[in-house]
Symmetry: C2
Subunit: 566 residues, 2 copies
């Protein structure tokens, strides 16, 4: 079969983008090739891209159908996704017969290895470019599986996820090409002839990679591992969260089409949708063919994978407890507004959402005068109420609760302490079946042992604890302990004191947590930008890897050397 | 305390060497800053270096003494090394009270982290440079613990080990500096002001690193991990093999002196010598303070570390079964001579020594006409006999057997099949107490199930199996199975056939093993050169890491980002 996309065409089309990505991960300045405004797609936008109506239509056409994939080893059909907005999706996906699927994936490896790092990177860019063109369709798929509001599903599930995939491709390319393809080696031997060897170096894949997707950010958390593995030569088996299959099934379909068009075996990317309660990830994770695993989800299963999938390189993002230390500020209103948005965005269902706000019980200094602990909490509650007062605006910020467990947790949280801001039920104008809730803010006394059980556990969802502490130094000690014992994807802090800043920074450097200081404008502690920000540190219990760095890609392949006399 | 070596002095002295190392790992051409000829040291050689007599005197002065180290937490003295040459060393080392030692090492971390990647690299180069100046002393220490012959102990234990340490420093430096120290990030917001952030990126260490040394190559196998960890900010606790303490104790002493002179806490490098049968490595390996482990030794303990030291990044080099496929050659004499030396060097006690020579039972084609299986084996036996016929030359190649287990294994090997070359006892002219033996070559039939138990196990020592196989294709299948099931540090092959070469190369690429083709001159399959050759692949059961690549350093530190509004 002649490839529809030749290597030369791939270079012309994508090499400039790859080069820009390589420069971006070095400079870590702002950069993205994927526009984040919905109007940038469709008529008048990116050529060939789906516009809003086309994206909606494409998504609607998927509902109530069998999602056909031409992958081998299909053993019946499965799928029972229901949108957090109350819409039934009714899509069925092929259930894999892994006895047929895994060997077919392994067969695809040699030609993909031989293609080399550049072609692999460019094919990955072709996949990402095609996904980008269908961002409007993906946005609906992400929205109706994760519960994200449309704009967030569009941006985080679309261009931002694509950015993270491209970032992984760039890192993989750098890592594989830091060793030259060949070298001439000549060692002087005094008066005798030198010893000479010709050496060839080939990056070789480890084996089949398994991507275990999550419910809340199927594409954003999935693409780094998927593309890092694929770009380093490994076929990727995509096992989505059973409640968020569609965005990754679409991804697999697009990847297979692009691979085929570039002359490669589409079985380099396959889907493994599971039957209800099948526990397919657990079975697959310990298969000898699986040599790389990327996982986002609960700490319990992440820890299990790290302990049991010993034949594989395991990259995990798990639970953590994110802290904001509030010492002082020269922009009290800005701080409150920024925090209110951070707590509300996607109903606090981000792995990066702050949970514990540590506030000295004697209060803080601000540009608006000293504020007592109670005042800070009351003012923050008011800021959240103000942000979410209008139902339409509230739903656009909050999205919907992703699953019933979040709702249960939210309801239980009100019993953990004094409620400073009660959660409010919001009716969604377009989707009356959506479960939409505003955050609860609960006051806890950091000195009381019975409060510790609450603030030292992850309470995933729209729940924030305003923890009264003795002092900023006390807050920093609690921050350290929380990161060390529970892990953290993010740390935030507000301070105008150089001493306090130093204390907080040292704690983050020593406990290995990513710190955002004094955010009062349009950047939030929850958000990280590909090519510039690291997502997670890989050095505390919340995650054993960061997105994205050398360590995220370096061990997905190995370098094999063949040497001969020159 | 003012540093005797300022940062500026370190830059002047070592930055050019670091830059050359950085270039060498990119080009992988031949390079070394450390001369390998004994005459390059002492009078007329490298300034300040010890000459042969001084090195010998320094070594002699150590015998029968307490090896004082000013490290905290000493709990008695231990040591009972006996040279494989029959010389009693009688050196005693401080036994650690880890309850005092580990906290002292942790205290040294913040200042070392703050020093940054360049200063850390340059201090590591200062340590290596001081070690290099004492190469003659180290040579005796390596010789009288490993049993290597003097010249090998000098080169492999001296400059080649120092090269591998420097290589690790270079990789660590690249990895930590691929992210800039700071970045300005500015994201356009249409007509509104851009979002702007100032970001700072700091490589932070993981914690205390544990180096578990081996008996045969205490410095060569120890330096990569030691310097990779130290250069990435981690204090290193050195736990030598109880029979090979002295070379690493000297290393620790030199490192501590250099660290102190550069103004750093010497407790960044400490020694943990163990009492007989104490099993100190096992206790230390699971301590929560230990976050990185480097290990060379048996598969049993390496596998145990990988499974149990879950709080640490674990880098292992374990046992393997190295194969040479003999298909055909256009330099029969060269092949025999090369193989004879490979089998004899250091009595086959290298992790890279070939064990299984796979030879088609119908014979091979050569420039000297067709040779039957029996002829090849007989001619190889004659080549080994020729090489080792003279006792003085034999001891210079063979060294001594490192421990009684090797002798037992060698003696048992003669019972495994038909002996093509019997092992011979050699009397050492200088050290009558040395146990010196020539290799045994045993014929085995690859088709016989009872032979498989022999050739499919590592028989560490001067034992080679000449395995008769049905064909070259059969040999390649056995090669694949051996690498997959038992691991391999090296693969060798001789062939003049492009088809056979392709088969063998594909097997090595797919099973992830380093291949040397048609070596007939002065380069041997056992030997790898730092900055150019990878030692091990990290992709088969013989080792989970390679010396040295990005993966060897990337996860020894993490990158912490602090971002603020610009």
């Amino acid at each position: 079969m002649a490839a529809e996309l030749t290597a030369l065409q791939l270079i012309e089309k994508h090499r400039p983008t790859l080069d820009q990505a390589l420069e971006a991960i070095r400079s870590r300045a702002y950069w993205s090739p994927f526009p984040e405004h919905p109007k940038a797609y469709g008529e008048g936008g990116a050529p060939g891209s789906l516009g809003p109506a086309e994206g909606q239509a494409a998504f609607d056409a998927l509902r109530g159908t069998r999602f056909e994939l031409d992958q081998p080893g299909t053993d019946g059909w499965t799928g029972d996704e229901v949108s957090p907005y109350g819409v039934e999706l009714g899509v069925e996906y092929p259930h894999p017969d892994t006895g047929a699927l895994l060997p077919a994936m392994r067969e695809a490896m040699p030609a993909w290895r031989q293609a080399g790092p550049e072609t692999r990177a460019l094919v990955c860019l072709e996949i990402l470019s095609r996904i980008n063109g269908r961002t409007h369709e993906f946005a609906h798929a992400v929205m109706h599986t994760s519960g994200q509001a449309f704009m967030m599903a569009f941006q985080a599930g679309g261009p931002h996820a694509q950015d993270r995939g491209l970032e992984a491709v760039a890192y993989a390319y750098v890592e594989q090409t830091r060793t030259p393809e060949t070298a001439e080696w000549s060692k002087p031997q005094g008066k005798r002839d030198p010893l000479t060897l010709r050496k060839a170096f080939t990056p070789v894949p480890r084996g089949i990679a398994l991507l275990i997707g999550c419910n809340t950010f199927p594409t954003w958390n999935g693409y780094p591992g998927l593309f890092a593995s694929l770009a380093t030569g490994n076929p990727v088996l995509v096992k989505p969260h059973p409640r968020a299959v569609l965005p990754l099934a679409l991804t697999v379909r697009v990847a297979r089409e692009a691979l085929r068009d570039a002359g490669f075996d589409p079985n380099l990317v396959c889907l493994a949708a599971e039957r209800p309660d099948e526990g397919l990830a657990k079975t697959l994770a310990v298969r000898p063919e699986i040599r790389v695993i990327d996982y986002t989800g609960s700490s319990a299963f992440g820890d299990w994978l790290e302990a049991n999938a010993r034949q594989a390189q395991v990259f995990t993002e798990k639970a953590g407890v994110n802290t904001v230390v509030i010492d002082s500020t020269d922009d009290y209103r800005g701080m409150l507004g920024n925090l209110a948005f951070s707590l509300s965005l996607y109903s606090g269902q981000m792995c990066t959402t702050p949970q514990n706000l540590l506030i000295p019980r004697d209060g803080i200094t601000t540009d608006a005068g000293p504020k007592s602990y109670d005042e800070v909490v009351t003012d923050l509650a008011a800021a959240v109420e103000g942000l979410l007062g209008d139902d339409a605006r509230a739903t656009a910020v909050l999205g919907a609760l992703v699953n019933p467990q979040v709702k249960e947790r939210l309801e239980a949280a009100a019993g953990l302490g004094e409620v400073a801001l009660a959660s409010r039920e919001v009716t969604h104008g377009d989707f009356p079946g959506a479960t939409v809730r505003t955050p609860v803010i609960v006051k806890l006394d950091g000195a009381k042992p019975d409060a510790e059980a609450a603030y030292m556990s992850e309470c995933f969802g729209p729940v924030a604890f305003a923890v009264a502490v003795d002092s900023t130094a006390d807050a920093v000690e609690l921050l350290r302990r929380t990161v060390r014992e529970k892990g953290a994807m993010t740390v935030g802090a507000y301070t105008t004191s150089a001493d306090a800043e130093r204390l907080i920074e040292d704690a983050c450097l020593e406990e290995c947590a990513q710190l955002s200081l004094n955010l009062t404008g349009g950047v939030y502690v929850n958000q990280t930008a590909a090519f510039s920000d690291f997502h997670g540190s890989g050095g505390n219990p919340a995650a054993n890897a960061a997105l994205c760095d050398g360590a995220f890609v370096a061990n997905r392949f190995r370098m094999v050397e063949v040497r001969r006399p020159a």
